[in-house]
């Protein structure tokens, strides 16, 4: 298990042209259609964009508010994911030695949010942390804290959907590391924490970075869990995707501008960090 399969292939690893020759035509045609399915909607978005008024649209307070909120919450969510996800990935990687049922259960627990419709995640979070939720009711009674409809709820919803991306990225990196380095450090008297901090973590740093990028972009795009669990209030919980969805009902031009902004930020983050970090991931 080496690099995340979702990272773009590096130019340096592109095979010589000859290797591409001789695609069977059904493969070529279907691949072309597949590519069109991925690319054409974005082309339409860019083509249909109200370029003339884009400056005015993007300078609107509602747009800036949503942008600031989205960047802030996605950054916070990525931070939380790093803090919780790296240890979870270590646990998952070490679980290889566990009995099969326990190992599978653990892996399923991390995988489910990945395949779950985000709205389901939002409902689940509401039933846990809502005012009458499993934990939420106690929080409300004891401390007067209500989680839903706060910026914190937005971050929580994002963490719920984005955490698995980080965990699997780091776990993949961990599995491909040579455990003998860690054993050597341990033999030389390093404590478990020292081994983790000075050997394991530097070894998987590229995997962590790749995971953090995926995590950030996923958090940035979060919609279903957020609108269900956190609601939608400008400046507090109305993130870019929600603002874009709502604008589509009344002002499609603003919705398109918001969508472009979201696209630009996501692609920008990917490109920026790809050159910096991702090449190192490929073993």
């Amino acid at each position: 298990m080496t690099a995340p399969q979702t990272t773009p292939r590096a130019p340096t690893r592109r095979r010589p042209p000859r290797a591409h020759g001789g695609l069977a035509w059904p493969v070529a045609v279907l691949a072309g259609v597949g590519l069109a399915v991925l690319v054409l909607p974005l082309v339409a978005l860019v083509a249909r964009a109200p370029w003339g008024e884009l400056g005015e649209l993007l300078a609107r307070e509602s747009v800036l508010e949503a942008l600031v909120l989205s960047l802030g919450t996605a950054t916070a969510a990525t931070g939380v994911c790093l803090m919780l996800g790296v240890p979870l990935a270590v646990l998952l990687a070490r679980a290889a030695a566990w009995p099969t049922p326990a190992r599978r259960l653990l892996r399923a627990a991390v995988t489910v949010p990945l395949v779950l419709p985000p709205v389901v995640g939002g409902i689940a979070l509401l039933l846990l942390l809502g005012r009458r939720g499993l934990i939420g009711s106690a929080l409300d009674d004891l401390f007067g804290i209500t989680v839903p409809f706060t910026t914190g709820a937005v971050v929580l919803a994002q963490v719920f959907v984005a955490l698995p991306f980080l965990v699997f990225a780091v776990e993949g990196a961990l599995r491909s590391t040579d455990r003998r380095t860690e054993l050597a450090a341990a033999t030389l008297g390093a404590s478990r924490w020292q081994v983790f901090r000075h050997v394991t973590l530097p070894l998987v740093a590229p995997g962590v970075a790749a995971g953090a990028v995926l995590c950030f972009t996923r958090a940035l795009g979060e919609f279903g869990a957020t609108i269900t669990f956190a609601g939608s209030l400008p400046g507090v919980t109305r993130t870019l995707p929600i603002a874009s969805y709502l604008a589509m009902q009344t002002d499609p031009d603003e919705a398109i501008a918001l969508a472009l902004l979201l696209l630009a930020v996501s692609v920008g983050v990917l490109l920026l960090l790809r050159d910096r970090w991702l090449p190192g991931v490929r073993g």
Binding site: M1, R107, R132, G172, P234, V236, L246
Partner: protein, 270 residues
């Protein structure tokens, strides 16, 4: 990274989803929901098929009942309801959604559709006013509109872009209440759900919503709301795939039987 097995499963699921969606779309486009024996008993038989009715979320119960009654009278026609925020539905119609009938919770979303040349004669068939909804037992002790300004309470309103939100804004403005909402939802049923779950202390919804909630929320009458009336227009759409059935359904809703159902659910007369 993603274990390859997970990736494969996810991919397979995605493919199945896309195929299902395509198949569903094709079925709708065909619109032949089984020929069904044409039994022209009380009404003239219509061309058999499926009509799609886009209706405001606040019409959910009314239109579910009306659709069932219409199908009883016209067994050859299936009525499929698409319920949501009026503004979103209007945009979908303008974007080319294959709808036969559009019923909105206020006149502006219908104007969007009429202005786009997709409907010409909208008929107002019902009216509605707002009411405060609180969770059963009214835990926060809400007494009236003024309570919506209390910062410490959790308040849900509709976003101003949808009719219930526009009405709420007018009402609050006229009453001079500076509300402190914690969330602005995109349709009235979302507000109602958050009240019913007890996640908010109060919300402004239509009085018909309180009535149709089956006791999961309590209504508090707002006298000032009587002057802020939402008028519900309905129209058969110009590009309806099934124009005759669309016109028949519209006539049914605006006719005596429609009035009967709407009355019972608390909608006012036009």
């Amino acid at each position: 990274m993603l274990r390859s097995r997970v990736a494969r499963v996810a991919l397979a699921a995605a493919v199945v989803g896309v195929l299902a969606a395509c198949a569903g779309g094709a079925g709708d486009a065909d619109g032949t929901g089984g020929p069904g024996p044409a039994t022209p008993s009380t009404a003239d038989a219509l061309e058999s098929g499926t009509i799609t009715v886009f209706a405001a979320a606040s019409l959910t119960d009314a239109f579910e009942e009306l659709a069932a009654r219409f199908e009883e009278r016209h067994p050859e026609v299936d009525v499929v309801l698409n319920l949501g925020g009026s503004a979103a539905l209007a945009q979908q119609v303008v974007a080319g959604a294959p709808a036969d009938v559009f019923a909105a919770a206020a006149e502006p979303p219908m104007a969007t559709v009429v202005d786009a040349g997709l409907a010409d004669d909208a008929t107002v068939f019902a009216t509605n006013t707002l009411e405060l909804a609180v969770p059963t037992g009214n835990p926060a002790g809400i007494a009236g509109l003024d309570d919506l300004a209390r910062e410490e309470l959790r308040i849900a309103l509709c976003d101003e872009s949808v009719p219930c939100g526009a009405a709420a804004a007018t009402l609050l403005d006229e009453a001079g209440v500076d509300a402190a909402p914690d969330t602005l939802e995109s349709d009235v049923k979302a507000v109602l759900t958050k009240v019913a779950l007890g996640e908010v202390d109060a919300g402004l919804v239509y009085r018909t919503d309180v009535r149709s909630s089956g006791g999961s929320v309590e209504g508090i009458d707002v006298p000032a709301a009587a002057s802020v009336v939402n008028r519900y227009p309905i129209a058969a759409l110009a590009e309806a795939p099934h124009p005759a059935a669309a016109a028949a359904f519209t006539a049914f809703v605006t006719g005596p039987e429609g009035r009967d159902v709407l009355d019972r659910l608390g909608f006012g007369a036009p």
